[in-house]
């Protein structure tokens, strides 16, 4: 086997993995902090991708620049979704189940709204630099892939710094560890939950844009995205940002290597098979502690 090819597919696997990690980070936070499994998370990511697509198509705005508009926009939308839909169900007997059913409904709605607006055809983001590539020795990297990859690194770092350095971020971490005690210290849990949820959705938007720079997408794509981000989050450990990033790397390496050595149709089989075995032996992820 050609070693250049192996390294090439390893690197593209890692890039893909990091993008899934950015998509997964928010999912992991809502799950960890709020005990909400947000099935429409990837659908919001896809919405981010479509917003970037339209802004590029009609106004010629670069996806990275438009992220500065669509990510805050998604933040606001998510605040509304939290107040209207998520908050009422936090009193259910089993929040996880109720949230899964509710957000599953939300995902169906988002998907079909996207079909109505953007039609069901596959789309690609084609910024001005789409055809360019960076060539380093025998390797070559398409610019959109590099941009998507960098965007995901920036996104994960930003979320990490937010949680570690800011007051609100610390409150989020506290709410994850000791919800009752956090409340005693005068933290408004509802406000923290709303911020967590909205932040998660906006990172999904950024993740969706990154992923759209690497792959084509259509209104149904979020189902597959969701499965991958589930995997990234489980391997990394729920609520663990660094763990999620590491898991993105690991899954990237696995898919990259199986891409290089196996016929295409076996790649997913190997990925899911390995993950199943992994889950049986390390059900709580590779990295123990949360947030």
């Amino acid at each position: 086997m050609d070693s250049v090819l192996i390294i090439q597919s390893l690197i593209s696997g890692i890039m893909m993995g990091m993008v899934y990690a950015l998509l997964g980070v928010g999912f992991s936070l809502t799950w960890g902090v709020m005990h909400v499994i947000h099935i429409s998370h990837a659908a919001f990511g896809l919405l981010g991708a479509y917003l970037a697509y339209s802004l590029l198509q009609y106004f010629g705005v670069d996806p990275v620049v438009s992220a500065a508009v669509s990510v805050p926009l998604l933040f606001l939308v998510a605040c509304g979704v939290y107040q209207l839909l998520i908050r009422p169900i936090t009193k259910a007997k089993e929040v996880i189940v109720a949230s899964m059913i509710l957000t599953f409904g939300l995902a169906i709605i988002l998907e079909n709204v996207m079909v109505l607006i953007w039609k069901a055809d596959p789309r690609v983001l084609t910024p001005t630099y789409a055809s360019g590539a960076l060539i380093v020795g025998p390797f070559y990297f398409q610019y959109p892939h590099l941009v998507g990859f960098s965007l995901s690194i920036v996104g994960i770092t930003a979320i990490y710094l937010f949680l570690k350095k800011t007051y609100t971020g610390m409150a989020v971490r506290a709410a994850w560890q000791q919800p009752e005690a956090t409340q005693l210290y005068g933290v408004n849990l509802y406000r923290i939950s709303m911020i967590t949820f909205a932040l998660a959705v906006s990172t999904a938007g950024a993740g969706g844009i990154s992923l759209a720079l690497l792959n084509s997408f259509e209104p149904h794509s979020h189902n597959l995205w969701l499965i991958y981000l589930f995997l990234v989050v489980i391997v990394g450990g729920v609520g663990n940002v660094i763990g999620t990033a590491m898991a993105g790397l690991i899954i990237g390496v696995i898919t990259g290597l199986s891409m290089a050595f196996l016929p295409y149709q076996w790649v997913n089989l190997v990925t899911f098979g390995l993950l199943m075995i992994f889950l049986i032996f390390r059900p709580h992820g590779l990295f123990k502690q949360g947030v």
């Binding site: 109720a98 995902a107 889950l279 059900p283």
Partner: protein, 311 residues
């Protein structure tokens, strides 16, 4: 009271069994067939998902295994229609066997982690079937048509599926009232405590899982014969897995009636919407239904009406 209820159920069964003799249109027979099928799927999923709280998101795998095993047996051994229908029983047993093997390691994992491992399992089974030519491969399997008029063949499959539904619901009825069911409920409320109360949790979890795979396997076999052509994309579709869970939890998991109500409502609504509205609009309304029901009845429909009744 108990007596009246039994009589009512008996009358309902007779009415359902007599339905094909009224010469209804094939459409209604097909619709009722899928309705019965979803009741079977949701009720059997309930054994593990509803009673113990181990939410399996891979139940389409058992459905698909039953479908492919039946189809493979029918096409390889050139079975007669009658034997093909019977072949769905060993196919269900095969699904149960797979559940036994997979359940042993997987049921040690709890909560959402179990859900994810079952998703992975369903994918592994689907991709294996797709990649191995002998098992059906990317082309799928064709079954021979029954050599009789369509309406008659549809009626036969209708009655068989009805029978399967009655058997499944009887088992569910027994389970709901048995020590076994009580043990499963104890696992749902607190597995550690259940264990200290000398409930063999590991054993009954596997039993419930195996049982919950058996009936979907048979249903899959009947479904394969009903479609006459099966493909991995159809029977292993993750949406089937999700739909089963939603039906059961929507009605109310861990109760006998809940999955029945959930399956009936969602099948009828889905069918009605797709007949009367544009596809996307129909899906949007369908999605909104989940949201509205969860907000107003977060613990399932059954729980909501029970509370109403008692207060």
């Amino acid at each position: 009271m108990q007596k009246y209820r039994l009589v009512a159920i008996a009358i309902l069964i007779v009415m359902l069994a007599a339905f094909p003799f009224l010469e209804p249109e094939v459409y209604y027979l097909s619709f009722m067939f899928s309705l019965f099928m979803y009741v079977v799927l949701a009720s059997s999923w309930n054994f593990i998902g509803g009673y113990t709280g181990y939410l399996s998101f891979g139940h389409a795998a058992f459905f698909g295994i039953g479908a492919f095993a039946t189809a493979k047996a029918a096409s390889m051994l050139e079975l007669t229609p009658f034997l093909t229908i019977l072949a769905s029983i060993p196919a269900g047993a095969l699904a149960a066997l797979v559940a036994l093997i997979v359940g042993y390691p997987c049921l040690k994992i709890r909560g959402p982690y179990f859900s994810v491992v079952t998703i992975c399992f369903a994918f592994v089974v689907e991709l294996t079937v797709k990649n191995i030519e002998f098992l059906g491969g990317a082309e799928g399997i064709w079954l021979k048509f029954m050599d009789i008029p369509e309406k008659l063949s549809r009626s036969i499959l209708y009655e068989v599926m009805l029978l399967l539904m009655i058997v499944t619901l009887s088992v569910a009825w027994w389970l709901d009232r048995s020590r076994f069911g009580a043990g499963l409920r104890a696992i749902r409320s607190d597995e550690e405590v259940a264990e200290t109360m000398a409930i063999p949790t590991a054993k009954i979890k596997i039993q419930a899982f195996v049982l919950s795979a058996f009936f979907p396997g048979i249903a899959g076999g009947l479904f394969a014969y009903y479609l006459t052509y099966i493909h991995a994309d159809v029977v292993f579709n993750i949406n089937i897995s999700i739909l089963i869970v939603l039906m059961a939890m929507f009605g109310g998991g861990g109760t006998w009636l809940g999955p029945i109500i959930g399956a009936v409502i969602l099948t009828v609504v889905n069918e009605g919407l797709s007949t009367f509205a544009q596809a996307e609009i129909a899906r949007i309304i369908y999605g909104a239904l989940f949201i509205v029901v969860t907000i107003f009845m977060p613990n399932g429909i059954i729980d909501f009406f029970r509370k109403k009744g008692s207060s």
